[in-house]
């Protein structure tokens, strides 16, 4: 009896210390203003998301230290990632990533890898949609792909953001269906510009993210053919007079078996302790609950998958392997020098 009681007391005491220590651990907070690095230019998708996060943190007072947003877009984002990689031991720094986390080191040979950074959370996945001009005769993705296949080689122009980045990867993936015919891929600086070029008929199709093209869709200038996801979008509110995001068929169901989504995730510096990572995970969870965030997700038809910890690392491993495969297939790997 006594022994048992002692054991209970011991257990309780042990649990107590654990609770105290975990409470201590959760109490790590940034000691200086937090630098939030954007490895992309001002005005783009990653930039918008980062500035929204900064705005939510400020508005809802989620952090004692202020958050400073810095664009480091040089070398397709390499500048920003190298900065974070070189800031080991300074946990007051985070970075938002897009697919260039995987593609830039492969395409340019600049030495960094996601494993050089400390993963925090995946905030969402950004969708890609195949768009054509509303005046084009193609009503489905299949019709369009057939037309490319039947036309002259390189006759159809695909506009996209950046070179050897996500938009071109998707284009190359589509070419496996149009073979032996290829697209002429025309790289532009930003997604909004790509959408406008499609409206002006300077290109034949794009794979713009929803938020980049939505206003032109609503204006009746563009037509979505299919979404590059395994499942249809979950947003059922009408965006145009008669269509919602959920009404766009997946590419697979329209006979074009291609899938691609882009990571919108947050990382911190190498060597960050679990307590420090826990702080940011908690912070980002609070941000994801803010009404402004929810509205942003719906406007941009984001896939709201979010994860952190080991699950996130596993996802990253798989995504990296996939990108290496895609880039190798497309012949986008930098020559080793």
């Amino acid at each position: 009896m006594h022994k048992q009681r002692l054991a209970v007391i011991m257990a309780a005491a042990f649990a107590g210390t654990c609770a105290v220590s975990s409470a201590n651990a959760a109490e790590w907070e940034p000691t200086r203003p937090v630098t939030f690095i954007i490895p992309a230019g001002a005005g783009g998708g990653a930039d918008q998301m980062a500035r929204l996060i900064q705005g939510i943190v400020t508005k809802h007072n989620l952090m004692k230290q202020p958050m400073v947003v810095v664009n480091k877009a040089g070398g397709a984002g390499a500048e920003g990632f190298l900065d974070v990689k070189g800031s080991a031991g300074d946990p007051n720094k985070i970075v938002i990533t897009l697919s260039n986390l995987f593609t830039t080191p492969l395409a340019t040979g600049v030495p960094f890898n996601w494993k050089d950074l400390t993963p925090v959370s995946m905030m969402a996945l950004d969708q890609f949609v195949l768009w054509v001009n509303a005046e084009a005769p193609y009503k489905t993705a299949k019709e369009y792909i057939e037309a490319v296949k039947a036309g002259d080689d390189k006759k159809f122009k695909m506009g996209g953001t950046g070179s050897k980045q996500e938009d071109q990867i998707i284009t190359v993936a589509l070419e496996s269906l149009t073979a032996p015919k290829k697209f002429t891929y025309v790289p532009y600086k930003g997604g909004g510009e790509v959408a406008t070029q499609l409206v002006g008929k300077h290109v034949d199709s794009t794979v713009n993210n929803p938020i980049e093209a939505v206003s032109q869709w609503r204006g009746g200038n563009l037509r979505p053919l299919c979404i590059f996801d395994a499942k249809r979008s979950t947003y059922t509110d009408k965006v145009t007079a008669d269509m919602a995001w959920s009404d766009i068929p997946t590419c697979k169901e329209s006979g074009v078996d291609t899938e691609y989504q882009m990571l919108r995730g947050i990382f911190t510096t190498p060597g960050a302790t679990p307590e420090q990572v826990a702080f940011y995970v908690g912070l980002l969870k609070k941000i994801a609950e803010a009404p402004e965030w929810k509205k942003f997700m719906a406007d941009g038809a984001f896939n709201q998958t979010s994860m952190s910890g080991d699950e996130f690392k596993k996802w990253l491993e798989a995504a990296e392997t996939r990108h290496v495969g895609l880039m190798k297939e497309a012949g986008f790997l930098a020559a080793k020098n």
Partner: protein
């Protein structure tokens, strides 16, 4: 008619005390941002953007766009006083603005710059008010080939208008192209000319180059000249504004031409920087006193400032109606729109009337208030030059270094700025013009991008640059301007031979007549 009512409603939105205070705060902040080199309008707006999330979208855009107007005004101040352009589009203002300041006419130059800015912006806003929907569609005509044609026209007008050796202009421009090529090649996605250095990944930032080439080089030559700066003896005149306005009336035609160039470049959207350069080059070509340009000619301040502001203002039109930003600042504002929950694009004018017309009304009022603020401060700004230069040089050097650092938060940029300073000084001594170098750094990669995108589309055929009336006429105009000196020389040569032949014939016939006697 409906538009006028909407606009009047817009005025009533802007004139609420809260929005009016935001407007004044925005302009003052903007002027400060424009004055500090490195902290450009785009950075300034981006930094303040999160503060606006708690405001209504209309109040937020009023404040942020007023920062933009303020920065447009402020950019001229340091260009004229210290030869340091705070913004890319102020570079052309230094060409004549700074020599004027050196002659002791800083106050006139400032008044001319501010007034021209105001006129440019006003004309652009009036155009936006009445022609928005018609003109907006025009921007859609612009594909890669058209963009390249516009940049080509800018380069061509600059080479054609240059004094001195055209070879030195071309050499200087080529150096600029080479510098612009450093970093990521956006067409192939691979790095070039970085030699494995992490610092060169982002290429050479325009601001770093310009602070060095203009600001630091200028200080080096002032130091060399024993710190003599004639501007210090300028008397402060309080009625300078009215006197300068009288002089400005003479340049009405330059103003109109610059407005047209500016509006066109803003809509297309080529942007404020090419507009200011092109306008300066054309003013120089067509002015009676063209040879005096670069030595302190008021007209040389009027032309670039008018065009830059007409372009900067009309750049907001493609942003609102199409979602294409015509300038870096417009790009940040665009991001802001989306965060406030507004989608720029064709539906904005239909669904968000209050927002759009509030913004347009704030363009009118913001520019009027802005002009009043900066003009009252002209004597104050000019008085800065009365501080002995031995005190001012170190202060400017510090401000420049801080500015260069803030561009990318990178110490390497500060060293680069100093290197550019020495390069600029040497080039000046060897009589190489700096303007084409800077022009090439700013527009080089965009021109290259347009050129290569166009060629990708045409499978390498150059005929794409004459494939429709729009691109064809811009390219032809560019060619004409580029070879103007040669053509002019050819015509005069032809004239002299044509005129010469009859003279010789006469002489011969005279001789014949004489011999026959």
């Amino acid at each position: 008619m409906e538009d006028i009512f909407s606009l009047l409603h817009g005025f009533s939105v802007v004139l609420t005390p809260y929005n009016f205070v935001l407007m004044v705060v925005g302009i003052v902040l903007g002027v400060i941002i424009g004055v500090l080199p490195g902290l450009g309008g785009a950075n300034g707006v981006a930094i303040l953007l999160p503060l606006t999330f708690s405001m209504s979208p209309t109040s937020a855009i009023i404040m942020l766009s007023c920062i933009y107007w303020g920065a447009l005004f402020g950019g001229a101040i340091t260009s004229i006083l210290f030869n340091i352009p705070g913004e890319p589009w102020s570079v052309a203002t230094t060409f004549d603005g700074h020599p004027l300041a050196q002659k002791g006419h800083a106050d006139e130059a400032l008044t001319a710059a501010f007034t021209s800015s105001f006129i440019g912006a006003l004309v652009a806003v009036i155009m936006i008010t009445f022609l928005a929907p018609i003109i907006a569609r025009f921007a859609l005509q612009f594909g890669p080939a058209e963009f390249f044609a516009v940049f080509f026209l800018t380069f061509a007008s600059f080479i054609g208008a240059s004094r001195g050796s055209p070879f030195k202009v071309v050499a200087s421009m080529c150096l600029g192209f080479a510098l612009a090529a450093v970093g990521l090649d956006s067409m192939t996605g691979s790095l070039r000319l970085t030699y494995g250095s992490e610092h060169l990944l982002a290429g050479f930032d325009f601001l770093i180059a310009v602070i060095g080439l203009f600001g630091i080089a200028e200080m080096l030559s002032t130091v060399e000249g024993g710190l003599q700066f004639r501007g210090t003896h300028a008397t402060i005149r309080l009625n300078v504004v009215l006197e300068t306005w009288k002089k400005l009336l003479r340049y009405w035609f330059t103003s109109i031409r610059s407005c047209v160039i500016g509006c066109w470049m803003g809509i297309t959207p080529g942007g404020a920087t090419p507009a200011s350069f092109m306008s300066y080059a054309l003013a120089k070509r067509f002015s009676k006193r063209g040879d005096n340009f670069g030595k302190g000619e008021l007209e040389g301040v009027v032309a670039p400032e008018t065009a830059a502001h007409a372009a900067g203002t009309s750049a907001l039109l493609p942003m609102l109606t199409l979602g294409i930003p015509g300038s870096p600042t417009a790009a940040v504002l665009l991001g802001g729109l989306m965060i406030w929950g507004l989608q720029p694009g064709p539906m904005l004018f239909v669904e968000q009337k209050e927002f759009v017309w509030g913004l347009i009304a704030s363009m009118y009022l913001g520019n009027i208030v802005g002009l009043a603020i900066v003009l009252t401060c002209v004597p104050l700004f000019a008085a800065i030059l009365r501080v002995p230069f031995s005190i001012i040089v170190p202060v400017i050097l510090v401000i420049c270094s801080v500015g260069a650092y803030t561009v990318n938060n990178n110490m390497f940029d500060v060293w680069m700025m100093l290197v550019f300073g020495v390069v600029g000084y040497v080039l000046q001594k060897l009589n190489y013009p700096l303007a084409p170098l800077v022009l090439a750094i700013v527009l080089g990669d965009k021109a290259e991008e347009g050129f290569r995108q166009a060629l990708l589309g045409s499978q390498g055929g150059l005929s794409i640059f004459w494939s429709n009336w729009l691109v064809g006429s811009i390219m032809t105009l560019g060619m004409l301007l580029l070879f103007w000196p040669t053509i002019g020389w050819g015509i005069s040569k032809l004239r002299s031979t044509l005129g010469g032949t009859p003279a010789v014939a006469n002489a011969q016939s005279n001789e014949k007549a004489q011999t026959s006697h």
